[in-house]
């Protein structure tokens, strides 16, 4: 659906040329929700703006449905843009227009007739849950409601793709939750492919199928949400994971505990999450597990559990116990001195 090939974007600043996006390849398949996460300044905003050419990449191709849109005429580009909805961090609504008009004006400008405009406004206001607010002005709405208007405006053009530029970053946690639910509903019921950028790991956790981690304009890690949450490879990914679940203990604590056994992290995935493996292990082998911290993360397509456990016991028996975990589909990681993750 969306294919970015070797996208580079350079900006000229007073300090010289800055590479905001540096050779990115990204493939978003039809019907999936793809999340790009990165810290501010990682280049994610520039990247998403390259998808509908709000920002023209310095080099590289942007393929939408296998058509390179960087070579389209302005007219054809406009047609393609109509298939790509976009929502923003600051909503970007007309202040001087009612909710109805905020949804209706773009439709009218795109040439839909009056009855079609009416039908669509009614339909999509209902989907986002704003039927009662059609006569209100944006200033009379809460942040979450404003974002709903923006979503309705984007949906009313019946796009195939929705780009979300930090759509929940200006909202409180509860509202964020509700908007994420709405995005999920849109994806499931209308089959709209979503590419979103965010700096919040919980956004990725709740709704994304695929994830790209961005740092200094480069994708440093890419994979399914389950892969990333269970086996994060890059330090930046791990840092992001630590923002939503405690995966580590302080090195000094680990050193202390390692004297009488070893501190390990067990990562449970899918089926293995349901098994009482810790209890079994202590029955079968002569080890005493002591749970230090544990959590379970519900992803869109599965569950990932983490337990950091201290196994008291003789070294060779502990080793057997670890093998038992691995055989049962649990990934095991020894926490020796992983410093500064």
């Amino acid at each position: 659906m969306i294919q970015l090939e070797n996208i580079t974007k350079k900006f000229k600043t007073k300090k010289g040329i800055v590479k905001a996006v540096d050779g990115i390849n990204l493939h978003v398949k039809k019907g999936e929700i793809h999340g790009v996460i990165g810290y501010s300044g990682a280049g994610k905003s520039t990247l998403i703006r390259c998808v509908n050419l709000l920002e023209r990449p310095t080099t590289g191709k942007v393929l939408i449905d296998n058509v390179d849109i960087t070579s389209l005429s302005l007219n054809d580009l406009r047609k393609t843009r109509q298939k790509i909805g976009m929502i923003f961090q600051h909503f970007n609504l007309l202040k001087t227009a009612t909710v109805y008009n905020n949804i209706a004006i773009p439709l009218k400008l795109l040439g839909y007739n009056d009855s079609e405009v009416k039908n669509r406004v009614a339909k999509y206001a209902e989907i986002v849950g704003l039927t009662e607010k059609l006569d209100s002005y944006p200033s009379q709405l809460s942040g979450g409601q404003k974002q709903r208007v923006a979503i309705a405006r984007a949906l009313a053009q019946e796009p195939e793709i929705l780009l979300s530029d930090e759509a929940t970053s200006a909202l409180d946690p509860e509202t964020t939750e509700a908007i994420l639910e709405l995005l999920l509903k849109i994806n499931r019921e209308l089959g709209i492919t979503i590419l979103l950028i965010t700096h919040e790991m919980n956004v990725i956790q709740k709704i994304c199928d695929e994830v790209s981690v961005l740092e200094s304009g480069k994708v440093v890690e890419y994979g399914s949400a389950i892969e990333l949450f269970s086996k994060p490879q890059h330090p930046t990914t791990r840092k992001f994971l630590n923002t939503i679940s405690q995966r580590n203990l302080s090195p000094s604590l680990i050193k202390q505990l390692n004297v009488s056994g070893s501190v390990i992290r067990l990562t449970f995935l899918g089926e293995s999450t349901g098994k009482p493996l810790l209890a079994e292990v202590s029955k079968v082998y002569d080890v005493q597990p002591n749970i230090l911290t544990a959590n379970i993360i519900e992803l869109k397509n599965g569950i990932v559990g983490n337990i950091v456990v201290h196994l008291h016991g003789k070294a060779h028996i502990v080793e057997k116990a670890l093998k038992y975990f691995t055989e049962n589909g649990v990934s095991v990681e020894e926490l020796g001195g992983e410093l500064n993750e």
Partner: protein
Amino acid sequence: MNSIQSFFTDWSDVIGKSIIETFQMVGISLFFSILIGIPLGLLIVLTRPGQSFENKFLYQFFNLFINIIRSVPFIILLFFILPFTKIIVGTTIGVKGVIVPLVVYTAPYIARLMETALLEVDPGVVEAYTAMGIKRRHIIWNVLLREARPSIILGLTIATIGLIGATAMAGMVGAGGLGDLAYRYGHLRYEVDLMYATVFILIILVQIIQSIGNRFAAKLKKD
């Protein structure tokens, strides 16, 4: 009471005529100033660096052009452009003769006020409409100008009041008006009553215009 009555019987004709002249001058020159000023304002916003019709040359040119005209006091401008006035309307005196300098004076002022009003519009909304694949001219009309309406109206109110001030100097070319009345009769002939009356009318006029402008702007502004 008698003195007020006799004041009106003596002067009502002259005052009435002056009011009509002022309205004529303000009305006609405001019309042409808006006709030139709003597109000019739009032009210097759209040709700005980073805007949709970025054009360094045009931007710098109009920017400088507006600044030059805005530097000249009206009383000087009035005489300075006499030959130009003569070419455009064929005369340099009377209401007709003063319209040209009034427009030349006011249009760039309106353009600057438009510029400020248009720059206040959230660029994010323009971006959102661009992302929707909407034509640029539609965006200019339905986003830029629409969202700027409250500020545009307040700007035009300011410009109108400025214009009334400028018409006072129109007497220099025999165009009449309230300002001229106050100056010729009130100041030169020292008819103090008449001067007070004229100033009073001007105050009322300005008040009315400002109130109308404020009300319209408030009605359009929704935040």
